[in-house]
Subunit: 356 residues, 2 copies
């Protein structure tokens, strides 16, 4: 099978040429795990941080040896996990940029709940991250005014839509460029979106928040956090989710100005999504319901074939993707399903992905 | 009457010679306020910040014109406030370094509750600050491990003792110098105190926290906050109370490293004591009870006479005071009380302050 590895250790923001596809032996099945053929591969900014050994103390993959890690939606080929059989669908955080992946104790998916590809995006880790921050940390509810950056991305976009579903009265996004801002307003239903790449954006931000934000959800970095804190209500809640702008930055580490935290009586909360994995089923139930009602949607920036992953990742870490970055590694339909023509027909009747 | 003013606008950490005592007209009585003779004057680090226009947007006192602001315990001379009469005792945050002060809507004190001087310290704003942070923001309880700096001071010392009374299982202080550390352990009953001026103090801090801190109460500045964050438990609560080390620092503003906030899933809360003034009576009830049981005590660094205030303030802002800085501006006993020999005798029977 094919997998993608690093050509060399990274010393800067990754580019497509840092990666190479190689032949590799098919993985063996781990205890309490499965081998799955990878169908949907999620590309996420934190992987860029992890490739450089900057994520949660985890060692980076060894160049020319280890496949690039990534969350996957796959179909089980072999199982040593109770209750999971070949043909079942699973989601694993410990997948890889590869045609097959060994997954330890993956989550079994219900193919009837939602399109399988959604589990690599809005129903996957980005969605859970947004849901945990909005409902568990910030505890958004009626009357809240929510400010979130990277608003066109899967975390930011889901933050706004989940907050709206919980009764927040105003949702303001920050995103880079007019196309992303249109997406945030037209498709995600935010009340306003501020293009931080445009001149005078600080005034636009101020105008978008005639009432100050009661919740600030930070995905980008120190500069936007400081700008947002200026519009935070007293006792506002701030969720620190990620600092994507700093993942490949060799300048000073991201910092929070302490004076405004005291002056605003802010409550700042660090979010690590891993802690909320036990609540994934509860999140799924809520989010899949919202999707069916048309109240939760995230655009996908989807490419076809494992070989396209490096170029998509380069676009992701440079802020050029729009929506959730996903790689279709293989067709959902496959030899394991051929014996059941009805299932295959069901799958074919699905509307095609608009970006596929 | 005498009052103390600034000789000139401050451009650095204040010293005793920045101040001068001058004659001033006696204040007139404000609407819904009183004129009180000042008996106990509280000196607090935030005043140093305020003198330089760096506190909560408040204008600094004008040199050669305005008296230095300060919290006072005084006895009413004249009143235009319902329920308050001459001879009553009051506490006002809007007092001054002066023999008499006009106070708007001061809190009336019950002289039987506790020694009057305590209202300029452990029962005054520093105590309320500590209580609000421990009970309202951090919500300390059984099992908590508390780390607090400026532990010999009135806020830090009270934090530890209130946390202990709420069931915290381990209290670790940080203070500057062996004398302060002895005070923190021997009199305030902390389990350990780390002298951050001693070589190897980071190792001592690590050894003092075999279990990580569940609550970190920050009074000093960014360096100690970073050191403390390294020993914070997951989901630890951090109360940002003040940054005394930065009040007279012209370097970069105090900042909180963002990475550890996320990695520790910390909850960081800004504390502004003004918000808790409505709860002062509830605090008093709890704190006075603890004082009577011998479970709450704060050493006073007390000087006699208004003229001694500038030198004490210089020692305070340079970290040289030990315990709560208080000026005895006048005797509690006074002509207004002379007609009641019993009251006077009661007061005389009080044990003298050990540092007076």
């Amino acid at each position: 099978m094919k997998q993608i590895i690093l050509r060399r250790a990274l010393s800067a923001r990754p580019t497509a040429t840092d990666f190479v596809a190689v032949d590799a032996p098919r993985p063996s099945c781990p205890e309490n795990g499965v081998v799955a053929r990878v169908v949907h591969l999620s590309l996420d900014p934190y992987i860029g941080s992890r490739l450089r050994g900057r994520h949660m103390g985890q060692a980076p993959p060894r160049p020319e040896i280890d496949p690039i890690p990534g969350a996957v939606v796959g179909q089980v080929i072999a199982s040593r996990m109770p209750g999971v059989s070949p043909g079942d669908w699973v989601h694993g955080m410990d997948g890889a940029w590869a045609e097959e992946a060994a997954l330890i104790a993956p989550r079994k998916l219900d193919p009837k709940l939602a399109p399988l590809g959604a589990h690599a995006g809005v129903l996957g880790m980005p969605g859970l991250t947004a849901w945990a921050g909005v409902t568990r940390l910030a505890q958004a509810g009626p009357g809240d005014v929510v400010l979130v950056d990277a608003a066109a991305g899967p975390v930011g976009g889901t933050v706004g839509q989940i907050a709206r579903s919980r009764g927040a009265k105003r949702i303001v996004g920050v995103a880079g460029g007019p196309e992303k801002c249109r997406l945030v307003i037209d498709r995600y239903g935010f009340d306003a979106c501020v293009d931080y790449q445009a001149d005078g954006w600080r005034e636009v931000l101020a105008a978008a928040l005639p009432e100050p934000a009661t919740i600030l959800f930070e995905n980008v970095g120190a500069a936007l956090l400081s700008a947002g804190m200026a519009h935070l209500a007293p006792y506002g809640r701030v969720v620190l989710c990620g600092f994507a702008a700093h993942y490949h930055d060799d300048g000073p580490a991201a910092a929070i100005p302490a004076g405004p935290v005291i002056a605003k009586r802010a409550k700042i909360m660090g979010l690590v999504v891993y802690d909320f994995f036990p609540e994934w089923e509860e999140f799924l139930k809520e989010a899949a319901g919202l999707m069916r009602e048309g109240r939760l949607t995230i655009l996908e920036d989807r490419v076809q074939g494992l070989a396209a992953a490096p170029a998509l990742f380069e676009r992701l870490v440079s802020g050029a993707t729009i929506g959730k970055a996903v790689v279709t590694v293989a067709a959902e339909e496959n030899p394991l399903n051929r014996e059941d023509p009805k299932t295959a027909a069901d799958k074919k009747s699905r509307p095609p992905d608009p970006r596929a």
